[in-house]
């Protein structure tokens, strides 16, 4: 006889608050509901504020990717006024954003994902002692190094923009400040030191060697090749992750989305696609299509907002709260972002699939999407960014760090869009200005894609789907579930939609 039970699981290390309800049959997840349990109120708070206020307000949505929200808000305003940012403005904006990404990838990968391998659930695992030595909270040797090195690389953002997190140095037309060339020369040292550490500690090899890993077979050969490969964080992720079966778990819908990101300057040695370093597109499995921004919509059928039929494009979307508490089918403050009416996952794995990266395309063909591939894509993303960061830094220095800003004049009435890739995936700001003030502001965050609840058709969100088939050995310590969820690098604080004062909400219970 099948034993079915319902588990309610709070998940930490997800930037904010997430709770899962799982239906488990004979120790395996058969259904999942993901609930964002906090609601903060940013979009409506922006309405009526000054035209530039998104540059100050939206970075405060998220402590780990404040520069990313700033970039998106600045690009939306660039779009409103129709200004072209000069090349050095583009380079320095990109550089700051890339620093934030490589900080986030390492902090998430080591402090929030690999730390689970030191969970007591694995105390009998042959690799457990090594995992504890490396990743014990606040004590493991990798934790200590990750804390020390990630704060150093962030110094580059402070040189460009004053501080991290929560500065507002990107403005329509470029940057608020041109750093001195001598300061940027110092950034070369900071960048070089981070790269050397990343190669030694995280990759266990040079970036050039890693770039030659272009298939599952090449990955296996790389792992066998040297002790330094096996002993690196990537090596340990592969060894432990495979032993824990993470390459067979956490599949999801198999659809991937990237908005594209990091505009190429007019003149640069960096190579990209479609004018951007990170390609835009949508993929079903390894098959990639061009991105159509009009195909994006948000559903609220399972979210605590007033219902609309089907989905609305964010330029038309509303954020009207509604939660009776009795209906059962509404269970999250996160809306359901959909592409062509269906769910799509976004993040580093999606970026690599959309870009046609040979390693991840091969992994997808042979294994399908999985939690291990997702985290591998994240922890190796710095290897794809660091070389171009050096190119752009050197190009700014060579051109005297001049011309980082053109004055676009006052912000005119109109609408604009900023769409980029955050560390966690696709991020969009849709803004409209009227009478010099913000008239609408809609935001879809990466977690609005990955952590979405069901849509109008009852289709699960990506990580709800990815949880199906996950074993739960110990209901009190469901470490496997944590691996799947954290492979998406959730950010619940970005579930920003706001509500109007005076509405009441019942105590909502999820119906299994």
């Amino acid at each position: 006889m099948t034993v079915r039970k319902i588990l309610d699981i709070p998940v930490n290390r997800v930037e904010g608050d997430l709770e899962l309800r799982l239906e488990v049959a004979d120790g395996v997840v058969v259904d999942a509901w993901s609930a964002g349990t906090m609601f903060r109120g940013f979009e409506r708070l922006l309405v009526g504020r000054g035209a530039l206020d998104g540059l100050v307000v939206t970075p405060r949505i998220c402590g780990i990717c404040s520069t990313t929200h700033l970039m998106t808000a600045a690009k939306a305003l660039d779009d409103v006024v129709g200004v072209t940012v000069p090349d050095n403005g583009v380079r320095l904006r990109n550089l700051a954003l890339m620093v934030e990404h490589i900080q986030s990838d390492v902090r998430h990968g080591i402090l929030m994902f690999l730390v689970d391998f030191a969970n007591p659930a694995y105390r009998d695992h042959p690799l457990y002692e090594e995992a504890v030595r490396r990743y014990a909270p606040l004590a493991g040797e990798a934790i200590i190094e990750a804390v020390r090195e990630t704060k150093r690389i962030i110094e580059i953002i402070a040189v460009i923009g004053g501080q991290w997190p929560h500065s507002s140095f990107m403005v329509p037309g470029g940057l608020s400040y041109a750093p001195q060339v001598t300061e940027l020369l110092q950034c070369r040292h900071v960048l070089g030191a981070y790269r050397a550490w990343y190669e030694r500690r995280v990759l266990g090899c040079s970036i050039e060697r890693w770039q030659a890993v272009d298939s599952l077979a090449a990955l296996d050969a790389w792992l066998d090749e040297k002790a330094s490969h096996r002993d690196s964080d990537i090596g340990f992720l592969l060894r432990f992750g495979r032993a824990a079966g993470l390459d067979r778990l956490g599949g999801g819908h198999g659809t991937f989305l990237s908005y594209g990101s990091l505009d190429l300057p007019g003149e640069t040695a960096a190579q990209g696609s479609g004018g951007q370093l990170i390609a835009a597109g949508f993929a079903r499995g390894p098959t990639v299509e061009a991105l159509d921004p009009a195909a994006i919509s948000e559903h609220v059928a399972a979210s605590w907002y007033t219902a609309s039929d089907g989905g609305l494009h964010p330029s038309e979307g509303k954020t009207e709260p509604y939660a009776s508490g009795k209906e059962g089918h509404r269970y999250s403050w996160v809306k359901a972002a959909r592409y062509l009416g269906g769910p799509a996952e976004t993040g580093p794995l999606a970026e690599r699939v959309v870009a046609g990266d040979p390693l991840f395309t091969d992994l997808l063909k042979r294994q399908g999407a999985n939690a291990l591939a997702r985290e591998l894509a994240r922890l190796t993303r710095p290897a794809t960014l660091l070389p171009t960061m050096a190119v752009w830094l050197n190009e700014v220095i060579a051109s005297g760090a001049r011309d980082v800003y053109v004055n676009p004049g006052p912000i005119t009435d109109g609408s604009g869009v900023g769409m980029i890739q955050a560390a966690r995936g696709a991020l969009g700001h849709w803004i409209a200005i009227k009478n010099g003030r913000i008239d609408r502001y809609q935001i879809i965050t990466p977690t609005g894609w990955n952590g979405s609840p069901r849509d109008s058709g009852g289709v699960r969100g990506p990580w709800e789907e990815a949880l199906i088939g996950t074993p739960v050995a110990d209901a009190d310590n469901p470490v496997e579930v944590g691996h799947i969820i954290r492979s998406f690098d959730p950010c619940l604080v970005c579930s920003v939609h706001t509500v109007r004062k005076g509405r009441t909400i019942g105590r909502v219970r999820l119906e299994a």
Partner: protein, 312 residues
Amino acid sequence: MGSNLYWLQCGGCGGDTMSFLNAETPDILQLFAGLDIDVLYHPSLSNSSPAEQSSQLEVLSSGEVPLDILVVEGAVLRGPAGTGMYDTKAKRPKKDIVAALARQARFVVAVGTCASFGGFGAQTEIEATGLQFNRSEPGGFLGTEFRSKAGLPVINLSGCPCHPQVLAGALTALVTDTELALDHYNRPLSWYGMMVHQGCTRNEYHEYRVEEETFGEKGCLFFHMGCHGPLVTGPCNKLLWNQRSSKTRAGVPCFGCTSPDFPQNHPFFNTRNIEGIPLDLPNGINRAHYMVYKVMAAAAAPERLRQRRTEI
């Protein structure tokens, strides 16, 4: 004899945690090890199981295990209608957990402006408040009479985010029983007894009223760009951020984020003025005197400043 610490995240962005991770000399690991602080729980760092977390909360709330330091990050969300259901943990309003732990803790520390004063969610539909202030009004969530077991009010370390060295320094003082003199918002004077303006590299431009009117210039940001540097207190230009710089040094106006009134309701990047002189003047200044001083200062400005030839 060591201390223990419990870090609770409420209505916020996690930015104070991210900022704290940037602490230097000591970094967070050196800080906790050096002071023998046992971090019972931190939402971004702990890997305990949900069951352990829940039983830990129980024994701390009941007082069975004594709690030395409660750090709260993010505002207390009371909405809607006082239920606190906009921010829950295990179906329980987070505000109830704040109340239970604050009753037991020897010290309660509010890290960041949201926890101190409410921040972005104050005066909005989510009914956010700080622990012991709601904006500048005393009381907040715990009430004016609240004292932690050590007999202290909530120690407010405002800033959006809080400077990591301020939190590290405050924890060091608390654990070592070193007295921290507080201002009238219960912020340590050591860091909140100076203006953000002090130490800004644009000070010479400020002295001679050489002012930025658009982004990317080298002048002072006070007269036109909405800078709060001379108006609010904070250590930004003394301690610097990320060991390097500050917003004002990088041409970004101070938004007054340590202030109980942050965020302001009028537009950022813009100085409200009366006949060209800022409406809000540096603390304690007589407007007539200030107008005369600024006219004379502008007249006295040396050419190298007018021509923006001085590096900042």
